[in-house]
Each structure stands twice: as structure tokens, then as C-alpha cells.
């Protein structure tokens, strides 16, 4: 009896899986989403997936694209180059027309070759390492300001705060190393000093050795260029270790979770951020819809991800067909597309023509716009 019950439930689940695979009919427009839905960056990934799906639902409600309904498929990049590669191959073999996604630069890089070789149009809402520019085969479009823009914002803040000696800490992955390197170059080129340039391992809990090393160089500011989960622990331990000067974090650490984990230690730290929903007047209705649909606040890249899907749909409409080369051409020709995070136009390198970085400061456990 028990066995037959098990058997029937297993076969039922299998049948369900098969049916799921067949939901997309040939008349639908398949668009792939590639974000980390597991692992340390899953918070951001899920948030991006939600925003993209919300955009797709809105487009479908208004009649779809070229009369076709959008069906999304999510590949889990897990912020890991290996997993991202297999997720990308899976999306390509599922024959998606286009891809919206890319959060961790390190994990996005190897997938760009896969999508590039298949000539699949891709809009990257979050990943913004400058390394992405060099390996772009022309099919990918970055709608987030790149590392160059962030570096300009960062050194601007350090200068305004009268910083002389800077310490930079990264995690050795594509995104954080790139940002750290560019900041060091720019900072020393301006005639200032980088007293410590450190790398820490991902997922390492104990940072006391790092704290002692950094503290012994007596920097005026510490710049953490990597992600929030480990960043929160570094900040907490820096403060526990008695470091009292300025701390700034890059856009990868722009999460309420960082403030939650670091607690009191995060008070007064600075963050360079892409335009998040609460600072965007144009995103009001998106904010309400998102909250109503997912019962949670949109995170850092929700607005850009939403724009990414809307931009892709717009480009397909302008191309007038689902031909991949035509869509890429239409994307490149985008002129002042009005997204909720700001207008989108592209440079000849497929990056955003205008920077959209802002500076935030942590106050009472919340990120506020720095005045």
C-alpha cells in the first residue's frame, strides 16, 4: 500500500514536470532570465527575477510583443562561473529568443561567449565590470553604469571627505577586483596613497587577520568593493577591531541585508549605488505593483531589471520580427528609451551613455540619499 502510494505520487510529480516543460507553445516568445537564485547572492537574483517577470506580465496583459505572449525561463547562475555556464547552455538549447539577466560579473563573463556565439540578444541589468565591455561580441547591452562611472563617484567622495590614505579590500572575483583595481589606479594617479590593497576569500567568516593588517596601516578610509554578505562581516569585524574611520562599499553591497547583518557597525558607512526604487519618482507605480505582487520591498536591481525586460520588448517591437540579428540592431539603435531608472541610450560599446550612480549613507539601519 505504502509503496503504491509512493509510486503514484512520484509518477504524478513526473507528469507535472513534463507538463511544465510543455507550457510554452510555438506561438510564444521565449525569453531567458539568468540570475543567481541560489547561493550567497540569491536575494538579489530572486529580486531581479521578480521584477523581470512583473514586466513580462504587464507586457502580456497589454497584448504581448508582436502579438506573441512572453514566456520566461530562469537559469540559475548561482554567482558561480561554472554553474552560470551550464545555465546559459541550457537556455540556449531551450531556444530562447533573447536573454535578460547577469548579476555577478564573474559569472556573467563566461556566459557572454555562449550567448555571443549563438547571437542571442542580451540585456544585462546589473553586472557592470568593465571587463564585460572587452569580451562583448556585440549582442550584449549593459544598462547599468559600468565600473568607470562608479570609480569616479567613489574618488569624488573620498576627496570631498579629505581622505589621504586609502585601504581597498576585494574578493578576487571579476566584479570586485575590477572595481578595486580601477579605484587604485585613479586614486594614485590623483597623487594620493593606497596604503593597503587586500584580498579576502569568499565565504570566510573570520576576518580578524585582515582587520589587524588593515588597522596597522592606519588608513583614513576603507573601501570594500565586493558583495554584501561577506561585506557585512568585514564591516562588523573592522568596527569590533577598533577601526573608527570612514568605510565605503561598492554597489554590490547595496542591500538592506548588509545593514541588518552588520547592525550597529554599519552606522554611517557610505555606499555607491545604482538608482534604487525608493529614489526614483518614475518608479512609483512599479513600487506599488511589486509590493502587491510579491509582498516584499523591491531590492537594488529591481528597477533596472524591470527596465531590461521592457527595453527588450521595445526592441523586438521596433525590429518588427523575432529575428535575433534584427533585435540586436534595434537594441543598438535605442534612443532615449524612458525606463523607470532613467533614460537609456547606448555608446558604441553597448554601455549606458549616461552614468546613474548615487551616494547613500547608512542611518538608523536604513540607506538614505547622501546630501
Amino acid at each position: 500500500m505504502k509503496k503504491s502510494l509512493l509510486l503514484s505520487s512520484v509518477s504524478g510529480a513526473l507528469a507535472g514536470l513534463l507538463m511544465l516543460g510543455n507550457v510554452a507553445t510555438s506561438a510564444d516568445l521565449k525569453i531567458g532570465i539568468m540570475v543567481p537564485t541560489t547561493g550567497s547572492e540569491a536575494t538579489y537574483g530572486k529580486d531581479m527575477e521578480n521584477a523581470i517577470n512583473l514586466a513580462a506580465a504587464e507586457i502580456n496583459k497589454a497584448g504581448g510583443v508582436l502579438g506573441q505572449k512572453i514566456v520566461t525561463m530562469t537559469g540559475d547562475a548561482a554567482c558561480d562561473p561554472q554553474q552560470a555556464t551550464s545555465a546559459a547552455s541550457k537556455l540556449v538549447s531551450a531556444d530562447v529568443t533573447a536573454v535578460v539577466g547577469g548579476y555577478c560579473s564573474g559569472a556573467t563573463m563566461p556566459t557572454m561567449k555562449i550567448y555571443g556565439d549563438a547571437n542571442i540578444p542580451m540585456v544585462i541589468p546589473a553586472a557592470n565590470s568593465t571587463k564585460l565591455i572587452d569580451i562583448n561580441q556585440g549582442n550584449a547591452f549593459q544598462i547599468n553604469s559600468t565600473g568607470f562611472d562608479q570609480v569616479k563617484t567613489a574618488v569624488g567622495l573620498f576627496k570631498a571627505k579629505g581622505i589621504k590614505k586609502l585601504a581597498i579590500v576585494h574578493q578576487g572575483d571579476g566584479y570586485s577586483e575590477d572595481l578595486a583595481k580601477l579605484t587604485r589606479e585613479k586614486w594614485t594617479a590623483m597623487g594620493n596613497e593606497v596604503v593597503a590593497y587586500e584580498v579576502v576569500n569568499k565565504g570566510e567568516q573570520d576576518q580578524s587577520a585582515l582587520v589587524t593588517r588593515v588597522k596597522s596601516k592606519a588608513p583614513d578610509a576603507v573601501f570594500w568593493t565586493a558583495y554584501y554578505a561577506d561585506g557585512a562581516m568585514v564591516i562588523k569585524q573592522l568596527r569590533q577591531g577598533g577601526y573608527r574611520n570612514l568605510i565605503a562599499v561598492g554597489d554590490g553591497s547595496n542591500s538592506p541585508k548588509l545593514l541588518e547583518i552588520a547592525g550597529k557597525a554599519a552606522e554611517g558607512i557610505y555606499c555607491f549605488s545604482n538608482p534604487t526604487v525608493e529614489y526614483l519618482p518614475a518608479a512609483k507605480s512599479f513600487h506599488t505593483n511589486y509590493k502587491a505582487t510579491y509582498k516584499q520591498e523591491p531590492d537594488a536591481y529591481a528597477a533596472l531589471s524591470y527596465d531590461g525586460m521592457k527595453l527588450m520588448a521595445d526592441a523586438i517591437t521596433r525590429a518588427g520580427s523575432t529575428d535575433k540579428a534584427a533585435i540586436i540592431k534595434a537594441l543598438a539603435a535605442t534612443k532615449e528609451f524612458t525606463g523607470i531608472a532613467g533614460p537609456i541610450s547606448f555608446t558604441d560599446k553597448n554601455t549606458l551613455a549616461r552614468s546613474n550612480f548615487v551616494i547613500l549613507v547608512a542611518k538608523d539601519g536604513k540607506w538614505l540619499l547622501n546630501k
Binding site: T37, T38, G39, S40, A42, T43, K46, G172, E198, V199, V200, N201, G203, E204, Q205, D206, Q207, S208, A209, L210, V211, T212, R213, K215, S216, A218, A229, A232, M233, K236, Q237, R239, Q240, G241, G242, K257, E260, I261, A262, G263, K264, A265
Partner: protein, 304 residues
């Protein structure tokens, strides 16, 4: 800071880190000592301890807050809960395998590890959780060396747990039975010792020590995550091997040594903090080649 101050601070860092490693290593070594099993799920029990603690603390904090009183109650409660989970795992996964070849039970331990962290991953969506406490950053400055009261208390707690364990093993009848089983199980049965009960007790103690370490880590680092047990499991294993696996004082010594090695290792010129793990696992390889029995280990140990 002068170089002297830096080295002193690294000494303090190493001792703090080492006392965590030692606490986790104890469970490894106790289980190995008694049934010759390398319990690779041990790191995941440490992780489980911090998650159980997280749940208990979020209940308790409404009544007694999340200061030291709350953390102490949480620690005791989750040591008990996770200790029983450890016994349950032993009953389900390990007892049926005791007479099987040693490799089978080792693989079972790996499977238990995967089941544990994947279950927690499924429940938490793979997210980091903030382990919220009311502890501050106040501390004492000894010369130029800075340690917070939190760090001092945690080291004190782990040292007292180790002392209690040492007393238990050497001064009580149960401890005597444990030591006897480590020498010869069959002889113990003939002497009327309830071997299964003592093995279960060993699992209970080892697992609850890991849970205690997990809660200390949550308190100290402020965040917990389903994969946090992996690296510490490997490090604790290294610590146990350095000290001589199967030996309780060896695990304590190995843990402290490993913590110190890692802290001082990062201070070598031209080598950055990212080389920390290379030190610990490099030492493991060297030790396995040149002195596989560890510092305090016995010579007849047979290794997998």
C-alpha cells in the same frame, strides 16, 4: 602600530579563532576515537546549531532580550536540541553501518552532510540570515592590542566547555566507559558496559559542542548561512589531525595551533590574507606525509 603590537594582536586573533576550531575539532576526535568514523557531517551540525539557535533566540528575545542572558539560554537549549539530533542521525545513519566496511560508513557521513545542508538551504532559500544580538563593541585595550568583551566571553565559554569535557571524560564513570570503548568494544560488552548507549552519549556530547560553537559563531560574526559548516568542518578536521585524531587534548591543542598558524601566516611579507586556507591545508598535507599520527596521537591508528 609597531610590528610588536601587530604580532601581539595576531596572537589574540589566533587564540580566539583557534578556540572555535578546537570546539568543533573535539566532536570530530571524540567520534573518531570511539567508533573510528570520520564524521564529515560534523561541520553541518555546527551549522545546524546556529540555525536552531537562531530560531530559539528569535522566540526568547521577546521575553528576555538578546543580550548575554538570552544568548546563554539559547546556547543551552540548542545544545540539547542539536545533541539529540546528533543521536538521531547516529541511530538512523550510522548504527546500521557499524559492521559494514569502514569506507561505507564514511560515505554515509558525506551523504548525511549533504542531506543536512541541502535541507537548510531549501528552508532558507539559500539566503544569509542576520543573527541579531544586543552586544556592543566595547572592549579593553591592552597596550595596542584590542579585544572586545564579546571575544573574551566567547573564548572563556569555549575554554570552560573544554575543561568540563576533560573532567567528564576522566572523572566520571561514563567517561571511563568512553575511554574503555575506544580501546576495545568487545571487551567492554563482556564487562557489561552498554556500548550502544555510550556511543550515543558520545555523539550527543560531540554534537552539542559543535552546536555551541555554531551559536558562538552566529553571535560573533552576526550572520549565518547553510554552507557555513563546510569550511569550518575541514578546518576542524585539520585541527583534529594536527593534534592527533582520537585524542581530546590533541584536538584542543590542534585547534589553537591552527588558529595561530592562520593568523601569523597572513603576516608574512608579500603574502596576503587570501593565503590563509593555503596555510591550514598545506600543513594538513605536510603532517599527513611526515607525522600522520599528529602531535599527541597514538601510533597504531589506521587511516582511511
Amino acid at each position: 602600530m609597531s610590528i610588536q603590537d601587530i604580532l601581539l594582536q595576531q596572537l589574540a586573533n589566533g587564540l580566539i579563532l583557534g578556540s572555535f576550531y578546537a570546539l568543533v575539532a573535539l566532536g570530530y576526535t571524540m567520534v573518531y576515537g570511539i567508533i573510528k568514523l570520520l564524521n564529515f557531517a560534523h561541520g553541518d551540525l555546527y551549522m545546524l546549531g546556529s540555525f536552531v539557535g537562531f530560531i530559539i533566540l528569535s522566540f526568547l528575545s521577546d521575553y528576555i532580550g538578546s543580550g548575554w542572558a538570552g544568548i546563554l539560554c539559547t546556547m543551552v537549549l540548542s545544545m540539547i536540541v542539536v545533541g539529540f539530533l546528533g543521536v538521531l542521525i547516529q541511530r538512523i545513519a550510522y548504527v546500521p553501518m557499524l559492521s559494514a566496511p569502514r569506507l561505507s560508513i564514511l560515505i554515509t557521513a558525506l551523504a548525511v552532510s549533504m542531506v543536512l545542508y541541502n535541507t537548510v538551504m531549501a528552508f532558507t532559500d539559500g539566503q544569509y540570515l542576520a543573527f541579531k544580538t544586543d552586544l556592543g563593541f566595547e572592549g579593553v585595550e591592552l597596550g595596542n592590542v584590542f579585544v572586545t568583551y564579546t571575544q573574551l566571553t566567547l573564548v572563556g565559554a569555549s575554554i570552560s566547555l573544554m575543561v568540563v569535557l576533560q573532567l567528564f571524560v576522566h572523572k566520571t564513570l561514563y567517561g571511563k566507559a568512553m575511554r574503555a570503548i575506544a580501546i576495545d568494544q568487545d571487551a567492554c560488552r563482556l564487562m557489561g558496559i552498554n556500548v550502544n548507549k555510550i556511543i550515543a552519549l558520545t555523539f550527543f556530547i560531540g554534537t552539542s559542542l559543535a552546536a555551541a560553537a555554531g551559536i558562538m559563531a552566529g553571535t560573533y560574526y552576526g550572520s549565518i548561512h547553510f554552507f557555513m559548516g563546510f569550511v569550518i568542518g575541514l578546518k576542524a578536521f585539520t585541527a583534529a589531525v594536527i593534534g592527533g585524531i582520537g585524542s581530546i587534548p590533541g584536538a584542543m591543542l590542534g585547534g589553537l595551533l591552527l588558529g595561530l598558524l592562520e593568523s601569523f601566516g597572513t603576516q608574512i611579507p608579500f603574502i596576503g590574507t587570501e593565503w590563509k586556507d593555503v596555510f591550514s591545508f598545506g600543513i594538513l598535507i605536510l603532517l599527513l606525509v611526515f607525522k600522520p599520527t599528529g602531535i599527541l596521537g597514538k601510533t597504531e591508528i589506521e587511516r582511511m
